[in-house]
Amino acid sequence: MKQVDIVIVGGGPAGLAAAVAAYDSGAENILILERDEQLGGILNQCIHNGFGLHTFKEELTGPEYADRFIQQVNEREIPYLLNTMVMDISPDRIVTAMNREDGMFQLEAKAVVLAMGCREKPRGALNIPGYRPAGIFSAGTAQRLVNIEGYMPGKEVVVLGSGDIGLIMARRMTLEGAKVKLVAELMPYSGGLKRNIVQCLDDFGIPLRLSHTVIDIEGKEHITAVTIAEVGADRKPIPGTEERYTCDTLLLSCGLIPENELSTAAGVELSPVTNGPVVNESLETNIPGVFACGNVLHVHDLVDYVSEEAAKAGQTAAKYARGEVTESAGKEIRMKAESGVRYTVPSTIHPDRVDDKLTVRFRVGDVYKDSYVSVYFDDERVQHKKKRIIAPGEMEQIVLTKKQLEEYPDLQTITVKIEAM
């Protein structure tokens, strides 16, 4: 069986950044396995701009952003296989993959980086009643059809869900001459970035109807209309608020699910909150030598943070492959998410393995105005940072330092919570 130091599953933004960082940390025998026909992942269909403001201090399109990393991969001559599907990862890191040229083959990896990304929640999982005609797409599928294949799904569009891809597609379809009638959002707040609401909806006069959902779909062969209704605090439709909109396209942008079927097969423990692996400070899962980063770990808002996180996973994977990651001295600090904080990545911290700084990322479950993000080391509050607004659509972070952790040798639990003024 062929031996590889680091197998990277997925050649999207996470996999590319992980590969580059692993190489720069001294790993040589790296292999990226990508299922699509080119590297770059979902960025290839994200032809809008707004990528890279943090990483490159300039505004790039998705393909441009991907290309920066693809160039870095090529400069380092990191090998990759395209059109190659990973079929299985075993707990002892045997990776089974398949493509047309090589058939089905197995690799013995010293370390594996999971970078498979996420998928969109389909209509079925949303339990939207009505007929099941053509013309209903998850926003990302429509994005692929429009931006990669060059075809339009329709001319009269309703969008359900205000996730970022839905917002981006509302603008994209408008620019292609379609009439986007509204974006309905079940929750009382948007699931997308504020800047996307401004630039994709407000600037084009597309109404965003919060606390609204689709309660009926008409059309037997092709969609002809939807009925939307306001929902109450219980998220159930309020009778009498129904409005009917004719349309030939319904786009769904109702949430993303990290794609962890391979992780599960490998025995990786998943968080019921993120649907991504439970990881420690090294972005290592419960399976030694298996690391996770990007949207397979938790759904990000900005690709810049994916790159940053993936680089960390690449670095620690490189160390692991070299045998430098020793069993931790045993001390493990638990991370706790409380009062509005839904989860944290990582979930545990071995202070002896932390570099100078450790970024902890999290999301909140509601909109908080003029509140504090607080960090407690056991019962002591050590950070208390005021934020004007904290929203579910935007990922938040706190930074812990090694120095700080060393000052608390008996620390058992770090709690992150939102506190009111």
């Binding site: 299922r35 059109n83 599907m85 079929m87 089974t96 398949m98 493509n99 047309r100 040229e101 090589d102 058939g103 089905m104 197995q106 998928r119 969109e120 389909p122 209509r123 079925g124 999982a125 339990n127 009643p129 009505g130 007929y131 099941r132 005609p133 053509a134 013309g135 998850s138 990302g140 599928t141 692929r144 059809l145 429009v146 990669i148 294949e149 060059g150 075809y151 339009m152 799904p153 329709g154 001319k155 292609e176 001459g177 309660i215 009926d216 779909i217 037997k220 062969e221 092709h222 439709p237 030939d248 079927e261 599960t264």
Partner: protein
């Protein structure tokens, strides 16, 4: 002039076509949709009933029990997945256990073998997640699960291989007899035959009533279902029915042959014969009722919901056989549950009747065997690599959720009575049937269909007719 025209390419029409293809006869199947298996046959519980439920002496009882017995042979010949997992009909009320005995007795009179009453302890051993309120159940070991798409497609393919013609996208408008010859009128043509088989599902009353004075009325009965991801596989091991309660007929929870879990159906009579919309109330009631028989069902794992229509006739039994006042017109009407279970028996029965009527002789070169689309997941790595060397398309995964290769999709399209739409590909290969519900694979399958059928992408449909997926180029694409 045909010997036989079959109206409808559901499981009954296709079963009849296949059984008739054993004889020397010219047979045509006319279907209003673009594919086989698009009506009642595609949206049901995907189970093979044991046969205890139908009243003694009915056609339902007879064809159910016969069909159940034939299923192993049919599925072996036609390479269709079928598993005899057994069914449990659970009772949640101590005072009603007697009703289970009555069902057992009815079943035994119908000829169902192996029926047993299990107490709660015995139940827990074989079905660990049974509801807390369940006190006993009727166990029917001969009940099973089957893929209704594959059974229907297999019947159709095998019929076609044996010479039966299929005409799709063609609705029959009128049927009449003149001088002992049957005329079947469609929008563009008129076909003649010595015999007509009415296998038109929820429309079977329409055709029956055109030719017979003994009127039949079919009220479509809507059944809504939810389908759980394969991640929930193994949670339920049998087909679990409920004894009807004062709150109405219960719902069933059953594994499918593909590892999903199916929950449903509701039972609501509707006016319209195409009313396959789901409702919020229906889905809610399915989930609520399922909790009576199975506890903590992982309903978070729902990947889709759907509704089917059962052809419920006002005679409360199947109407099968030659219409008394219309010689040569053979009904397979009002085939509601247990129609799928009964299909093999109805197919053979109708074929026999027509053979006798038209004095058909047996074909010497009838091909009884049919191979399903190859499932590479069942091969060893070595076998798989041999296959990919021969056919590289088997090395490309198109549907990642269900691990379906391009090779399988090409086979589904190129076969006799092949797939011509996304749904056609889905029913034959499962591409798009998984947890992402075709989000990732549909652009790829569209491209394969475009290439194979040599059509424009705007002509690729979800399910024929007006179900286009894209309808224009983008500005840059033009």
């Amino acid at each position: 002039m045909y010997d036989i025209i079959i109206i409808g390419a559901g499981v009954i029409g296709c079963a009849a076509a296949r059984e008739l293809s054993k004889y020397n006869a010219k047979t045509l199947v006319i279907e209003k949709s673009e594919d086989v298996c698009t009506g009642t046959s595609k949206a049901n519980s995907a189970i093979v009933h044991s046969g205890y439920d139908a009243k003694n002496g009915t056609l339902k009882a007879r064809f159910n029990v016969e069909g159940n017995r034939m299923m192993d042979k049919v599925c072996r010949e036609l390479d269709v997945p079928f598993k005899r997992i057994g069914s449990l009909t659970v009772c949640t009320d101590e005072s009603r256990i007697g009703e289970l005995d009555a069902l057992k007795e009815r079943g035994e009179k119908n000829g169902v073998e192996g029926l047993r009453i299990l107490d709660r302890d015995e139940l827990l051993e074989i079905e660990p997640h049974i509801g807390d309120g369940v006190v006993a159940a009727l166990y029917a070991p001969t009940a099973g699960i089957i893929c209704p798409f594959k059974l229907t497609v297999a019947y159709a393919e095998n019929a076609a291989v044996n010479g039966v013609e299929f005409l799709f996208d063609t609705a029959v408008g009128k049927v009449y007899a003149e001088n002992g010859i049957w005329h079947v009128v469609t929008e563009n043509a008129e076909y003649t035959a010595a015999a007509v088989v009415n296998a038109a599902g929820v429309y079977s009353d329409v055709f029956h009533n055109m030719v017979s004075d003994e009127k039949l009325n079919i009220v479509p009965r809507k059944g809504e279902y939810i389908l759980l991801d394969r991640a929930a596989e193994g949670y339920v091991k049998h087909t679990v029915f409920q004894l009807p309660t004062k709150f109405g007929k219960g719902v069933l929870v059953t594994p499918t042959v593909h590892g999903n879990t199916i929950v449903g159906p509701t039972a609501v009579d509707v006016n319209e014969k195409e009313s396959t919309s789901t409702t919020a109330a229906g889905i809610e009631s399915v989930i609520a009722k399922a909790s009576l028989s199975i506890k903590d069902l992982p309903t978070r794992q729902v990947i889709t919901s759907f509704a089917g229509l059962r052809a419920h006739g006002d005679r409360h039994d199947f109407v099968v056989g030659e219409a008394a006042d219309a010689p040569g017109f053979f009904d397979c009407a009002a085939i509601e549950s247990p129609g799928l279970s009964a299909a093999p028996a109805i197919g053979i029965f109708i074929a026999e009747q027509i053979k006798n009527k038209l004095q058909l002789s047996e074909k010497e070169d009838f091909i009884a065997q049919r191979k399903d689309i190859l499932n590479p997941n069942k091969l060893t790595i070595e076998e798989r690599n041999e296959l990919i060397r021969r056919e590289p398309a088997y090395g490309t995964i198109v549907c990642r959720c269900e691990s379906v290769t391009e090779g399988e999709i090409l086979d589904a399209i190129r076969r006799p009575v092949g797939a011509r739409s996304l749904d056609g590909v889905k029913r034959r290969t499962r591409a798009g049937m998984g947890r992402c519900q075709a989000g990732f694979c549909s652009p790829k399958v569209m491209e394969i269909l475009r290439r194979e059928l040599d059509i424009d992408l705007t002509e690729v449909t979800k399910s024929g007719g007006d179900s286009y997926i894209v309808n224009a180029r983008t500005k840059d694409g033009e």
